[in-house]
C-alpha cells in the first residue's frame, strides 16, 4: 500500500538549512527505532511523526554516529527499513518509502485503492502534538478527538468531507478532504494569542472568555508572581471587578475580608457565618476561617488566615466565579462566589530546573504625625487653664513630673521598624508525553515592623504528577502541597492609649525597668508576651479519568486537606502593669481542620450539527471536621514550664469537635451552536448535615444564555469595526448553609471546671429543627465587545443578587434561655452593581509593546425588607432601604465656644444614641461604608528584555476619620494627631466637662465622617530578561532579574493611618523586593 504525505499546514513549510544542519550522535546495537527517535528528539528538539503501524514492522537497527548531520543520520538509519522522512517545521515525518523512488513530499495521483480510514495528527506551530483536540466532521454527528500524540483516525469517513479541527486556546481550522487523500494528514493549529481564547478554569471544567456564559475572571501566574505577598488572595486586590478585598492588618498572616459582589447576609459573629467566598484549591474546598479559633475560643489571638499557607509561587491561575451560572456548580457552598485556585502542573519536555531568590524590606505606608512635646504641653496647659484646674503631680504628671523636653514618637517606636523578607524557591519539572512531574520547594521569611523583631517562617513543598495511557483513554493525576509555618508575629495593633501617650512619657525607670506612670500603661510591656503559631497544611488530591466511549469521560477525584495549628501565648507578669495583681499566664491551643472530598463525574461531549452539546453529571461528597484537641489557659510559676500542661495551674480548659457533611448531585447541560448561540443550565440537589433531618435537602438551579452577535452576518455590515460582540445573561438560585454545625439539635457542653469532683454539663444552644437553606437569587447580564481584532476589549456586567431567608443567629429575648438561636431571618438583602472591564493592547509593533487593563465596579447594597426589624436587636443597626453598612452618626451643627454641638433630632432635650430613622434616638444615617466604586488600572510595557508592570488600585468610599475617632478629647493626658489642631476644639483636661462631652459627640457625628477614598500604587514590577545568547554557555535557558514593589504610593485625603485598614490595625506595608529568577 502506498503512503504519501500531504501536509496541510497553516504556517510556512520551509525549514531553514541552518536548523537542518544540526548533528546527532548515537551508538547502539539492535536498538528499536523508537529509541533512536527519542534520542534524536532530545538532541535536536525535533519531533517525530509516524504511524505506529509503520513503525511496528521496523526492525531494530545498529548504528554508530558521531556528530553526523541529521539528514545523513536519518538516511542511514531509515534506508534499511524501507522508510523515508521529511521535515515539516519542527516535525520529522516518517513514512513508508514507495517502491519506486518518488518525490519526497508532494502528493502523487490518487491511489487506486484508497483506505477507508484516514489518519492525521494535530500539532501546534512548534510541532508539539495537541492531545484532546476535537476533529468534527461537518454535516455529521461525528467528532473525533486526538490521542496523546495528537493523532486521530477518521473511522468510516468518506471523502469528500469537511473537517473542523479545534482546540481550546487555538484558532480553529477548517480542512476540506477532496477524496484524493490516501495519507496521513498533518494539521497545524495556530496559537491563539487572543485573550478571549485563553483557558479559564471553571467549576469542573474549562472554558474561554469567548465561549463562557457565566461571569468569571482570571488572574494568571504572571500577575501573581510579580507581587511580594505571602497570601495569594492579596495578589487579587484591584485586579478583579466585583471582588473587594480588605486587609484587616498589615502583618503577615493577618486575616482578610473578602467579598464578591457585596455583603449578602448579616455578620452574626458565629465563626462560620461570614460573607467569605468559597475557596477551592485543586478541587478541594479550603476553609478560610482562622484556624486557631476554628472550634472553641483562642483568646487574644484572632485572625490567622489559612490562605496564607498557600504558596503564591505554586499557583498557575486563580479564577473568580461570580454569577449564578458560574457558581451554581458549587451549589450551596458557592453562594458568596467562588475563588478557584489551580496549582502548577508538570510539563513535558526536557527536565527543567528553575530557581527564584529574592529579598527586600518593608515599612508602614504611613504613620499619623502626632504633636511634638512642645505642642502637646501647650495644649495641656491651655486645657487646665480652660478648666480652671491647677495641674498637680497626680492629675498632670506630664506637666509636673516628667521632663518637659523629652520626646518619643510613639507610632514610630511601636510600628516603625523595617520588616525584612527573604524568599528562595526551587523547582524541577519534566516528563514525556505520557507522564509529567513537577516538584518544588520554597522558603519564605518575613519579619514585622513591630518594636520586637518577630517573624513568620514558611517552608513549602509542592509535588504534581500526571500520567496518561498510550491510548489516551486513561489518565491519572496526583498532587501534594505541604506547608509548614512558624509564626511568632503577635496579633498586635495599636491602641489609642499606647500610640498617643504623652510624647514626654518616660519609657524606662532609671534602673532600666519599664516605667508605668499613674494611670498609664507602658506600651512596650505588651511585647514581653510570646506568641507562636505553628501551622501545617497538607493538601493532597488525586484522581483518574477513563474514556468510556468517545466523548464520554468518567472522572473520579478525591482530596484531603489537613490544616493544623498549634498556638501558644505566654504572658509573663512583665507584660502587664505591675500595679495590678496579674498572674503569669499561658494559653495553649491545638486545632485542626480535616476535609475529605470525593467527586465522581461523567462528562459528555457530542457534536450536533454546527453545535456542540456538553453534559456533565456528577456528585460531590464532602466532610469537614473541626477538631480542637485542647485549649487551656492557666497560670504558671516556672517560665521554663510555661508550655507544659504539667506546669500549669489550669483555669480554663476546653476542647471542641464538629463534623460537617455535604453531598450534592448535579447536572450541567450546555449547548454551543456555531460558537454563536450558547446556552447552559445547571440543576442540583444539595444535602447538608447542618439542617434537621427533614430540611437537609434543597434544590437549586441556574440558566444562562449568550449570543455572540458578531458572528451574525448583519454584524459585519452594521458594525464593521467590531471584532467580537457577545451578550449574555444568567439567572439562578443558590443555597447557603453557612451556620454552626449541630444547631438543629440540642447540644450539651461543659464549662470545663469541675463542681467539686464532677464536671457538669449544660445546654449550649436552643435547637432549631426548622432551620433551612438560605437562598440567594442571582441575576446577571453582560455585554462584551472586541475592537481592532480584539486588541481593545470592553465588557460590562450588570448584576443583582437578592438573599432571603437569611441564616444567622436570630435574636431572642433571653427569657427563652439564650440571646439568640440559629434561624432563618426574614430579611431580604440586595446587592446590585455594574462591573466594567477594558483591556487594550496600545502598542504592539516593533520591540515595544504596551498593554493596559482597567476594571471598575460600582456596587450598591440595600436592605430591601426586614419585617419586625424594630422588635429585633438589629433595630439600632439596620434601616430598611439602606445599606447594611450604614454610618450612624449625630448631626453636627457647629461649635459654641469650642464645644461641639449636635442636633437633638427627637427634640427630647437629651442627645440619645440610637437611629432616628427607626425612632430610637438622635442619630442620622450619614451615608455608608460600602465602596461607591473600586477598581484598578494596570499597565504592562515590554521592550526587548525589559518588562514593566504597574497596578493602581482605587477605592471610593466614606468612613470615620481616623484622627478623630482614634483620639481622646484634646487636652486630656494623651497626645493628638497634628491634624486635630486645625479643628477649633476647646481643650479640656476634665472628664465630663462640656468640651469632653462635646468632643465625644463630634467624634460620633457626621463631621467626623470623611472621605476614605484612596488611589494606591498597589504593585510595580520591573524585570529584565537577559538575552539567551549571553547565558547559553552557562546552560541557562532564562535569567531574569527583577524588582517588585507593593503599596509604594497611596494618594488619599483620609486623615487616619490608612484608608484601607482604617482603625488602628497595622496598615499594609510598603514592600520592595529584589530578586533573580532562572531556568536551566
Amino acid at each position: 500500500m502506498q503512503l504519501t504525505s500531504i501536509l496541510l499546514l497553516g504556517a510556512c513549510l520551509q525549514v531553514t538549512a541552518g536548523v537542518r544542519a544540526q548533528t546527532v550522535s548515537f551508538s547502539g546495537k539492535d536498538v528499536p527505532l523508537e529509541r533512536v527517535f527519542v534520542s534524536v528528539e532530545k538532541q535536536t528538539g525535533y519531533v517525530f511523526f509516524f504511524d505506529e503501524a509503520v513503525l511496528a514492522e521496523a526492525r531494530p537497527v545498529t548504528v554508530q554516529a558521531n556528530h553526523m548531520p541529521l539528514e545523513v543520520f536519518l538516511n542511514t538509519v531509515l534506508k534499511e527499513e524501507g522508510l523515508k522522512f521529511s521535515f515539516q517545521g519542527k516535525t520529522i515525518v516518517i513514512s513508508r518509502r514507495p517502491p519506486d523512488p518518488a518525490p519526497a513530499v508532494l502528493p502523487a495521483e490518487a491511489s487506486p485503492d484508497p483506505p477507508s480510514d484516514l489518519h492525521g495528527r494535530v500539532t501546534d506551530s512548534a510541532g508539539n502534538p495537541l492531545a484532546g483536540a476535537s476533529v468534527a466532521v461537518k454535516g455529521t454527528n461525528l467528532v473525533f478527538s486526538t490521542n496523546d500524540r495528537g493523532d486521530f483516525i477518521l473511522k468510516g469517513v468518506k471523502a469528500p468531507a469537511g473537517l473542523v479541527v479545534s482546540y481550546i486556546g487555538f484558532e480553529p481550522k477548517e480542512v476540506t478532504l477532496n477524496g484524493k487523500e490516501t495519507y496521513t494528514i498533518g494539521i497545524m493549529l495556530r496559537h491563539n494569542n487572543n485573550p478571549l481564547d485563553e483557558v479559564m478554569i471553571i467549576g469542573y471544567g474549562t472554558t474561554t472568555r469567548r465561549l463562557s456564559t457565566g461571569s468569571v475572571d482570571k488572574v494568571s501566574t504572571a500577575e501573581i508572581e510579580e507581587q511580594p505577598v505571602s497570601n495569594p488572595i492579596l495578589a487579587l486586590e484591584g485586579r478583579v471587578p466585583g471582588l473587594f478585598i480588605t486587609q484587616t492588618a498589615g502583618y503577615e498572616g493577618a486575616n482578610l475580608t473578602v467579598s464578591i459582589r457585596g455583603q449578602n447576609g448579616f455578620p452574626s459573629g458565629a465563626p462560620l457565618y461570614t460573607n467569605d467566598p468559597l475557596y477551592v484549591v485543586d478541587g478541594i474546598p479550603f476553609g478560610s476561617a482562622p484556624v486557631e479559633q476554628s472550634s472553641g475560643a483562642f483568646l487574644g489571638a484572632a485572625g490567622f488566615s489559612p490562605l496564607n499557607t498557600i504558596n503564591p509561587a505554586d499557583i498557575e491561575s486563580i479564577s473568580v466565579l461570580k454569577d449564578a451560572d458560574a457558581t451554581a456548580i458549587y451549589g450551596s457552598r458557592g453562594a458568596n462566589g467562588v475563588i478557584l485556585i489551580t496549582t502548577k502542573k508538570g510539563k513535558s519536555g526536557n527536565t527543567k530546573f528553575s530557581a527564584d531568590i529574592s529579598g527586600g524590606n518593608g515599612k508602614v505606608t504611613k504613620l499619623m504625625p502626632m504633636l511634638n512635646t512642645a505642642q502637646y504641653l501647650s495644649v495641656r496647659q491651655q486645657a487646665f487653664a480652660n478648666d480652671g484646674v491647677t495641674p498637680t503631680v497626680a492629675n498632670a504628671p506630664d506637666l509636673m513630673l516628667w521632663s518637659q523636653t523629652a520626646y518619643t514618637d510613639f507610632p514610630k517606636l511601636l510600628i516603625g521598624n523595617t520588616a525584612h523578607q527573604s524568599n528562595a524557591a526551587l523547582s524541577v519539572s519534566g516528563g514525556d508525553a505520557f507522564t509529567q512531574i513537577l516538584f518544588s520547594g520554597s522558603y519564605h521569611r518575613e519579619s514585622t515592623v513591630f518594636h520586637t523583631n518577630t517573624a513568620d517562617d514558611i517552608v513549602q513543598f509542592h509535588l504534581n504528577l500526571n500520567h496518561k495511557s498510550h491510548d489516551n483513554r486513561f489518565g491519572t493525576t496526583a498532587s501534594v502541597n505541604y506547608n509548614v509555618g512558624d509564626n511568632t508575629i503577635p496579633n498586635y495593633n495599636l491602641s489609642v492609649l499606647n500610640y498617643s501617650l504623652p510624647p514626654n512619657y518616660p519609657l524606662y525607670n532609671p534602673n532600666g525597668s519599664l516605667y508605668f506612670g499613674p494611670g498609664y500603661t507602658n506600651p512596650l510591656a505588651a511585647f514581653n508576651s510570646n506568641y507562636n503559631l505553628q501551622s501545617t497544611n497538607l493538601l493532597a488530591n488525586g484522581g483518574f479519568h477513563y474514556m468510556l466511549l468517545p466523548g464520554l469521560d468518567f472522572k473520579a477525584n478525591a482530596g484531603y486537606n489537613l490544616i493544623d495549628s498549634k498556638a501558644v501565648i505566654i504572658t509573663p507578669t512583665s507584660a502587664n502593669n505591675p500595679l495590678f495583681n496579674y498572674f503569669p499566664t499561658s494559653q495553649l491551643g491545638d486545632n485542626y481542620i480535616k476535609t475529605y472530598i470525593a467527586e465522581p463525574t461523567l462528562d459528555y461531549t457530542y457534536v450536533l450539527g454546527k453545535g456542540k452539546l456538553t453534559a456533565l453529571a456528577g456528585g460531590t461528597w464532602q466532610e469537614t471536621q473541626y477538631v480542637q484537641p485542647y485549649f487551656v489557659l492557666g497560670t504558671y510559676t516556672n517560665p521554663e514550664l510555661a508550655t507544659s500542661l504539667g506546669g500549669l495551674n489550669v483555669l480554663i480548659k476546653e476542647s471542641g469537635y464538629t463534623d460537617y457533611k455535604y453531598e450534592s448531585g448535579y447536572g450541567r447541560l450546555g449547548y454551543e451552536w456555531d460558537d454563536k448561540y450558547l446556552i447552559s443550565g445547571n440543576i442540583r440537589r444539595d444535602g447538608s448535615s447542618r439542617f434537621g433531618s427533614d430540611r437537609q435537602f434543597g434544590n437549586f438551579g441556574s440558566i444562562a444564555g449568550a449570543w455572540v452577535f458578531s458572528k451574525e452576518h448583519f454584524s459585519a455590515t452594521l458594525f464593521p469595526w467590531l471584532s467580537f460582540g457577545k451578550l449574555k445573561t444568567s439567572y439562578g438560585t443558590i443555597g447557603n448553609d453557612k451556620i454552626q454545625d449541630y444547631s438543629f439539635e440540642s447540644v450539651y457542653n461543659t464549662n470545663g471546671t469541675p463542681y467539686g469532683s464532677t464536671v457538669g454539663i449544660t445546654p449550649s444552644n436552643i435547637a432549631n429543627p426548622y432551620v433551612q437553606w438560605e437562598v440567594t437569587k442571582k441575576l446577571d447580564a453582560a455585554i462584551e465587545l472586541g475592537f481592532l481584532k480584539d486588541r481593545l476589549f470592553v465588557s460590562a456586567d450588570l448584576y443583582r443578587n437578592r438573599s432571603g431567608n437569611l441564616l444567622g443567629s436570630s435574636p431572642l429575648p433571653t427569657q427563652a434561655g439564650f440571646s439568640s438561636y440559629t434561624a432563618n431571618l426574614p430579611a431580604l438583602v440586595q446587592n446590585k452593581g455594574i462591573e466594567l472591564e477594558l483591556t487594550s493592547t496600545n502598542i504592539k509593533n516593533g520591540p515595544l509593546t504596551w498593554s493596559t487593563s482597567i476594571n471598575l465596579t460600582i456596587p450598591q447594597n440595600k436592605l430591601l425588607a426586614f419585617p419586625n426589624l424594630l422588635h429585633s436587636p438589629y433595630a439600632n443597626t439596620y434601616v430598611v432601604g439602606q445599606s447594611l453598612n450604614l454610618i450612624r452618626a449625630f448631626h453636627f451643627t457647629g461649635f459654641k465656644n469650642g464645644v461641639a454641638q449636635v442636633e437633638d433630632i427627637e427634640k427630647t432635650g437629651v442627645i440619645a444614641y440610637g437611629l432616628a430613622a427607626n425612632g430610637l434616638g438622635d442619630q442620622i444615617i450619614a451615608g455608608n461604608t460600602d465602596p461607591k466604586l473600586y477598581g484598578g488600572i494596570s499597565n504592562t510595557f515590554k521592550y526587548k528584555g525589559f518588562q514593566l508592570d504597574f497596578l493602581f488600585q482605587a477605592v471610593k468610599r466614606r468612613g470615620f476619620e481616623g484622627d478623630i475617632t482614634n483620639s481622646v478629647t484634646p487636652g486630656q493626658g494623651y497626645d493628638l494627631p497634628q491634624s486635630l489642631l486645625k479643628i477649633p476644639f476647646k481643650y479640656s483636661a476634665t472628664f465630663g466637662s462640656p468640651a469632653n462631652i462635646g468632643y465625644n459627640y463630634y467624634a460620633g457625628s457626621d463631621a467626623a465622617v470623611g472621605d476614605a477614598s484612596f488611589i494606591r500604587l498597589k504593585n510595580v514590577s520591573l524585570a529584565y530578561n537577559v538575552p539567551a545568547k549571553w547565558i547559553r554557555h552557562l546552560k541557562m535557558q532564562t535569567f531574569q532579574a527583577y524588582l517588585h514593589g507593593q503599596n509604594l504610593l497611596t494618594i488619599t485625603h483620609y486623615r487616619g493611618m490608612d484608608p484601607e485598614t482604617q482603625g488602628l490595625s497595622l496598615p499594609p506595608l510598603k514592600m520592595l523586593i529584589a530578586g533573580i529568577r532562572t531556568t536551566f
Binding site: 456528577g618 495551674n649 467539686g756 464536671v759
Partner: protein, 460 residues
C-alpha cells in the same frame, strides 16, 4: 487508537442512573458524627449518671459562669440600697437609683437568671420524659432543679417585680411570654420548694458531704424566707423552727471567722470555688493587695450602724487609708490565696433562720420568742440582749440585726427595705436622687425590644 462513533444507547441509561441516585440524595452520606466534646440532647436523659452531671451543671453554671450568681446579686442591690459605694463612676447609676433601661448589670442579672432557668427547665423536661432512671432518682433530680428554679425566681421577682414565668423549654412559646405578677411567681416558688422539700435527701449525700448542693433543709430554709416575704408568719416560723431544731446538721458558728468556711455547721448551701481556690466575690470586692486602692467601699450609714462592741465589725469589716481617707470594705470573705479553698460562697446560712423566726414571732406577738432568737445572734456577735420589748421595737430590732448580720450578702438589705415598705422613708432620707418607683429595677430595654409583650416598670 480506535475511536468509536458515539452510541446513545450505551451511555444514556448510565447517565440517567447517576443523575437519579445523586439528585435523590442519600441521607446516609450526610449522617454526621455527634459532637464528641458535647452531648446531643437526645442521649443525655437516658441514664442516671449523665443526668446527674446535668444537675451538677446547673450549680456549676451559677457558681462559675454567671457574675450575677457569683457576686452581682450581692453587690448591685448593695449599691441600690445604702450598703455599698464604689470608687469610680462605674456604679453611679445604682448608687443614685437612676438605672438606665439599657444598663449592663440589670441586663446581666436578668439574662443570667433565665439562662440558668433554661437549664433547670431542660432538666425537668428531660428527666420527666427520659429513661434509665429510678423513680427516686428522677424525683431527686427534678427536686434539685426546682429548688434552683425557686432560688432564681425569688431574686427575679424581688428585683424586677412582675417577670415572665418560664417553666418549659419551648422557644416559640417562651420568647413571647408576658410577665406574671409577683404573687403568681411566689406561688410557683412555693410549689417548687415544697416539691424539693419532700423529694431532696435530708443529708448532703448528693454532694458527698459537702454543703454544695441543695438538700431538704436548703428547701426548708428558702421556704422559710419565702413565707416571711409573703407575710405567712406561721409557716415562716414553722420552717425556721425545723431548721433551727435540726441540731444534728446545723448550729451557729461560735467563731465569726468560720461562718464562710467550707461546709461548716452554719452553712446550709454553698458554692464550690473554681480552680482559683478562692471565691469570686472576694476577688471582686477586696482591694488589690499590691495597688492598695479602694474599690468597693461601705457607706458611712452602714459602718455607723454597727453598735459599739460588735465583734462583727472587727471580724467582717476591714479598712484601708488612701490619700488620708479611711475606707471600709466588706471583709466577710477574706481569702485570695490561690488554691487555698479557705472559703466557699454561701447562699443560705442558719443565722438568717433565727432572724426569720424572730420576725415571724414578733409579727405574731410572740415577744419573748422573738427576743430569744434576736439574742442568739447578738450574743454570738459579743453584744448584750436586745432591749426591744414590744412588737414595733422588736421588728425594728430584727431589721437592724438583719442589716448588720446579713450585710452585703445576696442583697438582703435592699430586699428587706422593699418588703417591709421602709425603702422610701430610709433611702429617701439618705439619697436626694431617690424616687418611689426606684424600688424596682427596670426591665432591660433589650428584652423589651426583643419581646413586645414585656411591660416596663413604672418610672423608667
Amino acid at each position: 487508537m480506535q475511536i468509536k462513533q458515539l452510541k446513545i444507547k450505551y451511555w444514556a441509561p448510565g447517565l440517567a442512573a447517576i443523575l437519579l441516585v445523586t439528585l435523590n440524595g442519600c441521607k446516609k452520606l450526610i449522617a454526621i458524627n455527634p459532637p464528641t466534646t458535647e452531648l446531643v440532647g437526645t442521649v443525655v436523659y437516658t441514664d442516671s449518671a449523665t443526668v446527674q452531671t446535668t444537675v451538677v451543671g446547673l450549680y456549676s453554671e451559677m457558681a462559675f459562669n454567671y457574675a450575677a450568681y457569683r457576686y452581682e446579686i450581692a453587690t448591685l442591690p448593695g449599691f441600690s440600697a445604702d450598703e455599698l459605694q464604689y470608687v469610680g463612676n462605674t456604679y453611679n447609676q445604682y448608687i443614685d437609683n437612676g438605672i438606665p433601661v439599657a444598663d449592663y448589670g440589670v441586663e446581666d442579672v436578668w439574662s443570667s437568671s433565665y439562662a440558668v432557668l433554661y437549664g433547670v427547665n431542660s432538666v425537668i423536661y428531660g428527666v420527666t420524659n427520659g429513661s434509665g432512671m429510678s423513680t427516686g432518682f428522677r424525683n431527686q433530680a427534678i427536686a434539685q432543679a426546682k429548688f434552683l428554679r425557686a432560688f432564681c425566681y425569688f431574686y427575679l421577682t424581688n428585683l424586677y417585680g412582675a417577670v415572665p414565668l418560664v417553666l418549659t423549654t419551648d422557644v416559640a412559646q417562651n420568647s413571647v411570654l408576658g410577665q406574671s405578677s409577683s404573687a403568681a411567681v411566689y406561688q410557683q416558688i412555693i410549689a417548687d420548694l415544697q416539691f424539693a422539700q419532700s423529694n431532696l435527701a435530708t443529708d448532703y449525700s448528693a454532694s458527698a458531704g459537702q454543703r454544695t448542693m441543695a438538700n431538704q433543709s436548703a428547701a426548708t430554709a428558702l421556704l422559710a424566707r419565702v413565707y416571711l416575704y409573703t407575710g405567712d408568719w406561721a409557716d415562716a416560723e414553722a420552717q425556721a423552727t425545723a431548721m433551727i431544731g435540726n441540731n444534728a446538721l446545723y448550729s451557729l458558728a461560735t467563731n465569726l471567722a468560720t461562718v464562710f468556711t467550707p461546709s461548716n455547721n452554719e452553712a446550709i448551701l454553698q458554692f464550690y470555688n473554681d480552680a482559683n481556690g478562692f471565691t469570686d466575690y472576694a476577688n471582686q470586692v477586696l482591694p488589690n493587695a499590691v495597688a492598695k486602692v479602694p474599690t468597693y467601699i461601705l457607706t458611712p450609714q452602714l459602718v455607723n450602724a454597727f453598735e459599739a462592741g460588735d465583734n462583727r465589725k472587727a471580724e467582717w469589716l476591714d479598712s484601708l487609708t488612701y490619700n488620708g481617707t479611711v475606707y471600709y470594705y466588706p471583709y466577710k470573705y477574706k481569702s485570695l490565696v490561690s488554691g487555698a479553698n479557705a472559703e466557699y460562697y454561701t447562699l443560705l446560712r442558719l443565722a438568717e433562720q433565727y432572724l426569720i423566726r424572730a420576725e415571724a414571732r414578733a409579727e405574731q406577738g410572740n415577744i419573748s420568742g422573738a427576743q430569744a432568737d434576736i439574742n442568739v445572734i447578738r450574743n454570738r456577735a459579743g453584744l448584750g440582749n436586745t432591749t426591744a420589748g414590744d412588737q414595733t421595737s422588736l421588728l425594728a430590732a430584727v431589721a437592724q440585726e438583719r442589716r448588720i448580720e446579713l450585710y452585703c450578702e445576696w442583697g438582703h438589705r435592699w430586699l428587706d427595705l422593699k418588703r417591709t415598705g421602709t425603702a422610701n422613708a430610709v433611702l429617701g432620707a439618705e439619697k436626694t436622687t431617690w424616687t418611689a418607683t426606684d424600688v424596682l429595677w427596670p426591665i432591660p430595654s433589650a428584652q423589651i425590644i426583643a419581646n413586645a409583650n414585656l411591660v416596663q416598670n413604672a418610672g423608667y
